[in-house]
Structure formats: structure tokens, C-alpha cells
């Protein structure tokens, strides 16, 4: 019994850190409505800064705590700088574009950390005076963890005082509820936003700095921290600090208990399972409230059909490529076809359906595994296995979509992420069937398709066919119903459209086509593994491709996929700092063309048509 009690204490220590990161994210989202993807990077910088500051100040108690504080302040200052230099310019842009900008920031911050601190893990000092342990119920419990346990509630209390007992806090709360009204009342929003962003960043920095005695500074912390923080914020309810605290406690304790009772394998996904359950039962999170004010919803311009002639011409032009070269260009193009289809399928629900998915890679992966398993384990011929890919992914999408379409906005996005992580962890751990973390090998195309050109033509045909199908669907009554549901669910319902059903069908179709892309992907690589097909980074890639190309156009995802894949390939070969270059390129695009590449081209060259 006492061992369970100790594990609960361990859970509390973990929960404190989770809460600090999540609190900053929640504050920033509440006021600025920016989903700050770079929050994990700020946390990571907190650890690195603390490592350097404490190194400079010396490992005395004063030096240690001054170093922790200095790290938090430095990260807060960086946050203010980012807000002033970047975010201020894009508050008017679509929310997803802001997400893309903060994603670009994570790429640049990661390389900045690599450049300043190097790639090796840096194990920081322990807290002087708190190196030892305290006897708790007969077990040696680290003294420092007791401090951490106290920090969480202390910060929650301090934030509460700040928000409820100061004028600034009142303004922050007002802005969280209705920022237009706050602006109308003459509050200088600029500095309010900068202040909130700096505070949120400082909290992330503090969370990182406080971890210095517990874990080494390393470059992979950013993604790990951001996904944990998102989960906590969403489970607690976006914008609710007590909710975030409760969620952090819940997740911290459940993790510790899993380890205590010998279910350690579950810790790989337990937070996502918790999130899926919470969102299925309480769509607004534990303590979240529905957003009250939606003034002047953004009206999307009507979609325009792609020119059939142009599409045929481009497809034919692409089809001649193998006659000119048999080399690497084909390999790269096959990747581009796969990702273009993948991005187009995401765009189908994201652009026309208004449903953002953070977990679209699940369907790429289901398709890839479906095809791979049928070929390698069931001995199906390649054609049949490939044909089964969209069915497998579609079935998964139908199942998960049923839950997802009941939510909206960030909650929906996070539920898709939860499902994707659950699927990933099943593939990762089910050794006997999926080959575990190694995945499956030997998934090669049939002999007559094995040559690069033959597979290129297959990829082109399937990608073009898939995109054509999506396109047809968008301009059928179904597609119009889907867009009606996006723009005004109430009115759409009033004229007899079953919005949820339409969205569910769209989600399923989108998943199926992502699965087709996955099947192609598996056969083009000859192997399939959880990390290559359904990792979070794959989902993010797809999102970046769609946003980069432009959400409001049909060619956007295709151009975005081509540009992103090609950029990544070309830059990575020429510099060690390809992430930073890629991030800078994305930022430049975001700032210069807030409508994405194709959107910008259309605005520049197609203006006449639009007004006509």
C-alpha cells in the first residue's frame, strides 16, 4: 500500500511539470487564439538556458535558483520578441496559418539550439542542497521532487491572483471572453497580447528550467513537450487553468499508476487514451466552456473547379518524364505523388469540411499496413493488396470519424491526434502481426511494376485518379452540402442536410484516399514501419503541405506537397541546418503570401476573374 502512495507522490511531481507547460499554452490560446506550436520549443530552450546560466552562475544554491529564474526570464523575453516580430503580423490571418508560422518557428528554434549547444545530450547539475532524499513511508523520496510538487499549486495560485486581483488580469480575462469588445473599449491590445505571450513563454521556460536536475537537455524535447502540453490543455478544456491543473494531475497519476501495477507498456499512449475517453464523454474537456462569441465568421470564397483541360495537360506532361530520365527524379516524383494525394485527401476535410485533422497519418499508415500485411502475411497479389489499402484505411476512418465529427475546432483536431497515436502504438507494439517498431519489409511491387518508370506511371495514375475523384465529389451535391455544413451548420441543418452524416462520409472518404496514398507509399519503399507512416511528424507534414499551398484552392495541396517534398530533399542535401532553412522559407511564405502559394498566385494574376 505504501508503495502505491509513493507512486502517487511521483505522479504529483510529474504533474507539476506538465501543468507549467500547459498553463502557458492555455493562457496564450485563451487570449490570442493562437495555437502555439512552438511552445514545446520554448520548454526545450528553458532547459538549455538553465544549463548555461547555472554553469555560469555556479552550482551554489543561489546560482542554481538564479539560473532557473534567469532561464525563465530569457525564454519569456524571447517570447515577447517572437510576438512582436512575427505573430503581430499574422493575427489577421486564418488560424491555421498562424499554426503554420509557429511550426516554422519550432524548426528554426531547434536548429538554433543545435547551433548553440551542439547535438549531444547535456546532463545538467542537481539542485544544490536538494541532491538527497527524504524518508517518506519508509522509501527514499527525492527531496527535489517535493519542491516540484509544491511548485505546481504555487504557480496556479500566483496565476489566479494575477488574473483575478489585478487590472491586467481582468483585461486578460476579458480578452479571453471577447477580444473585439476589449478592443472596442479602448484597451491597447498590442501590449496585452505581447504580455500574455511573454508570460506563457516564461512559464514554459520555467517548466523546462525546473526539469534540469531530472533530465538531460536534448533536442527531441520540443515535440515530446508540445504533444504532452496539448493533451493536458485539451483534456482540461482550452483556456481553463484549473482544468489544465486537473488534467495534469489526472495524467501524471495515471502514468505513475500504470508503472506501479506493471502496465508500463501502456505509458506509450496512456495520455492519448485518456484524451480520447474524455473528449468522447465531454467534448469541451473537463472544465472547458463552449466559446461564446463568434462574431463575423470568416467567409470562404467559393471553390473554383480545376480546369479539366489544364489537369489533363499537366498529367500528360508528367507522364512523359520517364522518357527523359530514369534516375532519381522519378524516385522523388513518386514521393511527391504519394504526398500530393495524401495532402489532397486531408484538404478534402480541412478545406471543404472545415475539420482540421492532426492525425491524418493514421490513415496513411492503415492503408500502408493493410496493403503490406495482405501482401507479406496473407500472400495476396500486389494489385489486390493495393486495392485493399483504401478499404482498410476507410474502415478505420469510418470508425474514428464517427467520434470525431461530434466535436469541432481544436478538440476535433486533438481527437484525431489521439486516435492516430493509439493506432501508432498498436502497430508499434503488436510484434506478431505488424513487426513492432521494425515494421514490415519485403513489400515490393509485382515484377512488371518493379522498374522505376512503371511504378512512376502507376503512382501518377493513382494520384491523378484520386485527386480527380475528390474533385468530382467536391462539386457534386455532396460537396456543396459539406461546405454548407462548414459555413453554417445551423442553416445547413434547417434545409435538411444531416451535417454530421455528411461530415462523417467525407471523413471516411478522405481516410480511404489517404489509405490509397499509404498503399502506394509502402510499395514505393518496399517496407513500412510505424515511424515512417504514422508518426505525428507525418501528420504535421501533411498539414504543412496543405497550408503551404493554400487552403482555399484545390491546387494548393498539390503544389504544397511538391514544394515541401522538393524543398526538404534539396535543402537537406546541402546543409546540416536544413530545418532552419525550411522554417525560414515557410515563414517567408506565410508573411509574404498569407493565402498560401496558390492563393497568392491567384490573388496576383487571377484578380480580374474573381471580380467578374
Amino acid at each position: 500500500m505504501s508503495s502505491i502512495a509513493i507512486q502517487l507522490l511521483n505522479g504529483l511531481a510529474g504533474a507539476s511539470t506538465l501543468f507549467l507547460v500547459a498553463a502557458g499554452l492555455s493562457l496564450i490560446f485563451g487570449v490570442t487564439r493562437i495555437v502555439n506550436f512552438a511552445h514545446g520549443s520554448l520548454y526545450m530552450l528553458g532547459i538549455y538556458c538553465a544549463y548555461s546560466f547555472i554553469g555560469a552562475f555556479g552550482t551554489t544554491p543561489l546560482g542554481f535558483w538564479a539560473g532557473v529564474l534567469a532561464a525563465a526570464l530569457a525564454v519569456g523575453a524571447l517570447g515577447a520578441l517572437v510576438e512582436i516580430a512575427l505573430l503581430r503580423r499574422i493575427y489577421g490571418s486564418p488560424e491555421l496559418l498562424q499554426l503554420l508560422a509557429t511550426f516554422a518557428l519550432t524548426l528554426m528554434l531547434k536548429d538554433a539550439a543545435l547551433w548553440s549547444w551542439g547535438a549531444e545530450d547535456l546532463l545538467g547539475p542537481r539542485a544544490p542542497g536538494l541532491r538527497g532524499s527524504v524518508d517518506v513511508l519508509g522509501a527514499a523520496f527525492p527531496a527535489y521532487d517535493l519542491v516540484l510538487i509544491a511548485v505546481g499549486p504555487a504557480v496556479l495560485g500566483a496565476l489566479w491572483l494575477l488574473l483575478y486581483r489585478t487590472r491586467w488580469g481582468r483585461l486578460v480575462r476579458a480578452a479571453t471572453q471577447d477580444r473585439d469588445m476589449v478592443a472596442a473599449l479602448g484597451v491597447n491590445q498590442k501590449w496585452l497580447f505581447t504580455g500574455v505571450f511573454a508570460l506563457g513563454a516564461a512559464l514554459a521556460g520555467l517548466a523546462g528550467a525546473l526539469e534540469i536536475p531530472r533530465e538531460p537537455a536534448q533536442l527531441s524535447l520540443d515535440i515530446a513537450a508540445i504533444s504532452d502540453a496539448f493533451v493536458v490543455v485539451v483534456v482540461g478544456g482550452m483556456g481553463s487553468l484549473p482544468g489544465a491543473f486537473l488534467a495534469a494531475l489526472l495524467i501524471g497519476e495515471i502514468k505513475a499508476l500504470c508503472i506501479a501495477v506493471g502496465l508500463s507498456k501502456l505509458t506509450l499512449v496512456v495520455e492519448f487514451v485518456v484524451m480520447a475517453v474524455v473528449l468522447a464523454l465531454r467534448p469541451q474537456g473537463l472544465l472547458g466552456k463552449p466559446w461564446e462569441i463568434v462574431r463575423a465568421p470568416r467567409v470562404e470564397p467559393p471553390l473554383r473547379p480545376l480546369g479539366t483541360v489544364a489537369g489533363i495537360v499537366v498529367t500528360i506532361a508528367l507522364a512523359t518524364l520517364p522518357l527523359l530520365t530514369g534516375g532519381y527524379a522519378l524516385v522523388l516524383c513518386i514521393d511527391i505523388f504519394v504526398f500530393a494525394l495524401f495532402a489532397a485527401s486531408l484538404h478534402f476535410i480541412l478545406g471543404a469540411g472545415g475539420m482540421v485533422s492532426f492525425g491524418h497519418a493514421a490513415y496513411l499508415g492503415l492503408g500502408a499496413y493493410g496493403a503490406g500485411l495482405l501482401l507479406a502475411k496473407a500472400g495476396w497479389p500486389m494489385g489486390a493488396a493495393l486495392a485493399a489499402a483504401p478499404l482498410a484505411a476507410g474502415a478505420g476512418a469510418a470508425l474514428f470519424g464517427w467520434f470525431c465529427v461530434r466535436l469541432s475546432g481544436v478538440y476535433l483536431a486533438m481527437l484525431t491526434l489521439a486516435f492516430a497515436q493509439i493506432v501508432w502504438s498498436v502497430a508499434y507494439q503488436w510484434d506478431a502481426l505488424t513487426g513492432g517498431s521494425n515494421g514490415l519489409v519485403g513489400v515490393w511491387p509485382a515484377g512488371w511494376l518493379a522498374s522505376r518508370s512503371a511504378f512512376y506511371w502507376l503512382g501518377l495514375a493513382l494520384a491523378a485518379g484520386g485527386v480527380w475523384l475528390l474533385h468530382r465529389a467536391l462539386f457534386s451535391p455532396f460537396g456543396f452540402a459539406l461546405r454548407a455544413g462548414r459555413d453554417s451548420p445551423l442553416r445547413a441543418g434547417a434545409i435538411g442536410i444531416d451535417v454530421r452524416r455528411v461530415q462523417w462520409a467525407a471523413f471516411t472518404a478522405s481516410g480511404a484516399l489517404a489509405g490509397l496514398a499509404g498503399g502506394l507509399y509502402a510499395f514505393s519503399k518496399g517496407s513500412i514501419s510505424p515511424d515512417s507512416s504514422m508518426a505525428v511528424s507525418r501528420s504535421i507534414d501533411a498539414l504543412v503541405m496543405v497550408l503551404l499551398g493554400g487552403v482555399q484552392t484545390l491546387t494548393g495541396p498539390l503544389v504544397g506537397a511538391a514544394a515541401y517534398t522538393w524543398l526538404q530533399d534539396a535543402i537537406a542535401r546541402n546543409t546540416d541546418y536544413w530545418r532552419a532553412v525550411l522554417g525560414a522559407a515557410i515563414l517567408a511564405i506565410v508573411l509574404a503570401f498569407p493565402q498560401g502559394i496558390v492563393g497568392a498566385l491567384r490573388a496576383r494574376f487571377g484578380a480580374k476573374e474573381d471580380t467578374a
Binding site: 508503495s3 509513493i6 511521483n10 505522479g11 511531481a13 510529474g14 543545435l114 551542439g118 547535438a119 549531444e120 545530450d121 547535456l122 546532463l123 542537481r126 532524499s133 522509501a139 527514499a140 523520496f141 527525492p142 521532487d145 536536475p213 531530472r214 533530465e215 538531460p216 536534448q218 527531441s220 515530446a224 502514468k255 505513475a256 508503472i259 506501479a260 506493471g262 508500463s264 507498456k265 506509450l268 534516375g327 532519381y328 524516385v331 522523388l332 508499434y428 507494439q429 513492432g436 517498431s437 521494425n438 515494421g439 519489409v441 519485403g442 515490393w444 518493379a450 522505376r452 507509399y521 519503399k525 518496399g526 517496407s527 514501419s529 515511424d531 515512417s532 537537406a572 542535401r573 546540416d576
Partner: protein, 397 residues
């Protein structure tokens, strides 16, 4: 006139041909330099040193060697694309490298499909030479199974009954755990495994894990943690007194890559496999150490030896084959003997595994740094299953 032109052209062609023969031999190298930097930066220095040595000695087949190196992002999908790029655009003669098991297996399968030699330098997975072994893939580093087997004699000698196990929850940790349980059970039938903790790779929740292991009251612990996970585990375990009065075995724990960051907190008396570069007296290693330190003003890590030996193996294979033809290279790799800093190794024709070994010893702290004391070389050849068993594991060609 026409004749003169033709003879001039013929002369030019004749001159051009030997010039073409002097072009360097291109080897394609791919690895996850960004993702596993602490292991792979020293690895890169190792292969660069070997490359310079080979070329200073006149190259191979009268031609210099050139290595085209790429980052594979630690992702099997990207790795296959990068490998295709090396083959199609750079026209490399063979592939080498990779670190993570899933990347290694994906590239091995590509090598089989494209019929090109692949020298898997780092991946530890047993499958790359056994279950998923293929004609074109050879592996340099001692595998998970081999390194685990190297720890078994010491583990069995202790006659500890209750064992707890902690491992990173992916193929490497799972295989190490499976092999350890199987081999120890064979050596000591009364052994009991009282707790097992599978921790997410890179995200160990060290406090609760250390506590759960302590609660199981084991006599000894077997761990296959490494890098950041190991550092966190050591810290929490030290603070919570988990290691007091318990024997601990840690696969790879003596590799400088993973031991050095722990500094004065390095555990004492752990049984580990690793690379005590400061305590190896063989002439081969002394020569390597001197050359490495002169070239890089730094000491070598385990990765350095692997990188160095990988290029030496590739050069030896090309020299033995006397040709760049993939099939001939594959034949040359079989039973190829190569001199490495660890002495002479052989790439077994039986399963394409090299007999490179590792050092086994116990950890200690010296001048505020973690070291391996009383280490001895465990020759890989002595820690492989019997041939008949290997034949059963590996598909026929």
C-alpha cells in the same frame, strides 16, 4: 585530313580512358546524424579517418575512395529515398551505414531489391542477419543477442535469484530482454524474473520506474537503457537507493557515448558492455588511438571504431573482389578478414555477421569521470548461437 582527325580522336579517347579509371570509387553512406548525434558524430570522424588512411596508402584497385554521405532523418521512408538517390544520382558502388534497426532493415531490403551490397554498420537488430537476412546485407557491429550473451557468464556466476528488468520499449530493448531471459534461464534454471518495465524510448518516467523496480525487491537488475533514458534512470536510482546492495547489468552502458555524460554520477560496479578506449593495450588499438587523437584532438567513442572499421571493411571487400560488380563484392564479403582497432574480424559466410566483439567490464569513477575497470575483450565469434541454430533462423537464399 579526315584521317588525322580520326586518329586525334582515337588518341584523345585512349588518353581519356585511363583518366576515367582514375576517378574515385564512390561509396554511399547514410545515417541518422541529426537524430542520434552523440553516437554518430564520432562515427563520422571514424570513417573520415579511415578514408584518409586508405587514400594516403594509394586507395583501392589503384583508385581513391570517395564517400558520399547523407542524413536519413532516422526515418525508414526517408532513408530508402536517400539510398535511391545515392544509387541513381551519385552512382555509388555500395551502401553502408544506418543506425536505428527499422532504418537498417528497410535499407537492407532495398539492397536486396536493387541487388547492391549493403554494409549495415550500426544497427543492432538480430533480424538483419537472421529472420530478415538477405544475400546483399552484411552487418559489422556485434548484435543485441551477441552483446547480451557477453554479459551472461558474469550474470550466471552471481547466482542471484530474483531479477528485475528495465528496457526501452522498442525492438532493441525487447530483443535484449528476450535474449537475456532465455540465456540466463539456460545457465541458471532457478532464476526468477520479478519485474519488467518497458519505458517509452527517450521518455522514461524514471522516478516511478525506479520505485516500481525497488518495490519488486530484486537481487539484481538487467537494463538495456541508453542515452538520456539511462542518465535519468541512474539519477533517480541513485537518489532512491535502488542500486544499493543490488547488482546491475547494463547493455552498452560502458560506451563513452552514454557513460561520459554521467560524469561523477556514473554508477560504480555495474556490469556493462562498452569501449574503454583508455585501457586497451593491443598494438592495433594503440595505433588507431594515436591516429585518431592526432587527427581530431579528441578521444574516440564506440561509434568511432565502428565508422573506422566500416570503411576498412568496404575497402578490403573491394580489394578482395578486384572489381566493383555487386555480385563479386558480395562473394568477397563472405569470410572476409579485416583488421580493425579491435583486432582481426571475419564476416561470416554463414549469416553475414562480423565477429567484431565488444569489451565487457565493470564501471567505476575515476577523476570525476565514468570509466570501465577490469575490462576484457569478448570476441564476437564466441558469443553466437551454434551454426545449426543460425541456419534455422536465417531463410535460405
Amino acid at each position: 585530313m579526315k584521317k588525322a582527325v580520326w586518329s586525334l580522336l582515337a588518341l584523345a579517347a585512349a588518353l581519356a580512358r585511363p583518366a576515367a579509371a582514375q576517378e574515385p570509387i564512390k561509396l554511399g553512406e547514410l545515417n541518422s546524424y541529426k537524430v542520434f548525434a552523440s553516437f554518430l558524430e564520432p562515427y563520422r570522424k571514424g570513417w573520415q579517418l579511415a578514408l584518409e588512411e586508405v587514400n594516403a596508402a594509394g586507395g583501392v584497385l589503384g583508385r581513391k575512395l570517395e564517400i558520399v554521405s547523407r542524413d536519413d532523418n532516422g526515418n525508414p521512408g526517408d532513408a530508402v529515398r536517400v539510398a535511391e538517390e545515392l544509387l541513381a544520382r551519385e552512382k555509388v558502388q555500395l551502401l553502408m551505414g544506418t543506425f536505428a534497426s527499422n532504418v537498417g532493415l528497410a535499407v537492407a531490403d532495398l539492397a536486396k531489391q536493387r541487388k547492391v551490397l549493403f554494409l549495415a554498420a550500426e544497427p543492432l537488430t538480430d533480424k538483419i542477419v537472421w529472420e530478415n537476412g538477405n544475400r546483399y546485407t552484411f552487418r559489422l557491429r556485434p548484435s543485441t543477442w551477441m552483446q547480451t550473451a557477453m554479459l551472461i557468464p558474469d550474470a550466471a556466476k552471481l547466482k542471484k535469484k530474483r531479477w528485475a528488468i528495465v528496457y526501452p520499449n522498442y525492438e532493441y530493448g525487447q530483443s535484449a530482454t528476450r535474449a537475456f531471459k532465455e540465456l540466463l534461464k539456460k545457465a541458471q534454471p532457478d532464476v526468477e524474473f520479478v519485474a519488467e518495465q518497458a519505458t517509452p524510448l527517450g521518455k522514461i518516467d524514471a522516478g516511478p520506474v525506479a520505485q516500481a523496480l525497488a518495490d519488486a525487491r530484486p537481487d539484481a537488475i538487467f537494463s538495456s537503457l541508453f542515452a538520456g533514458d539511462l542518465a535519468r534512470f541512474v539519477r533517480e536510482g541513485n537518489t532512491r537507493g535502488l542500486f544499493k546492495g543490488r547488482e546491475v547489468f547494463n547493455l552498452l552502458g560502458g560506451e563513452p557515448e552514454y557513460l561520459d555524460p554521467l560524469k561523477d554520477e556514473s554508477p560504480e560496479g555495474w556490469y556493462v558492455t562498452g569501449y574503454p578506449w583508455y585501457g586497451i593495450g593491443t598494438p592495433e588499438h594503440r595505433k588507431f588511438l594515436a591516429a585518431y587523437q592526432t587527427r581530431w584532438s579528441d578521444y574516440p567513442r564506440a561509434g568511432s571504431v565502428v565508422g573506422y572499421a566500416a570503411v576498412m571493411s568496404a575497402a578490403a571487400a573491394i580489394a578482395k573482389a578486384g572489381s566493383l560488380d555487386s555480385e563479386k563484392l558480395v562473394e568477397a564479403m563472405k569470410d572476409l578478414r579485416v583488421g580493425t582497432p579491435f583486432g582481426s574480424i571475419v564476416f561470416r559466410a554463414l549469416d553475414h555477421q562480423s565477429t567484431m566483439g565488444a569489451y565487457v567490464g565493470r564501471t567505476g569513477v575515476k577523476d570525476g569521470k565514468g570509466v570501465m575497470t577490469s575490462s576484457r575483450y569478448a570476441d564476437g565469434a564466441a558469443f553466437l548461437p551454434p551454426d545449426a541454430e543460425v541456419r534455422k533462423l536465417r531463410p535460405a537464399e
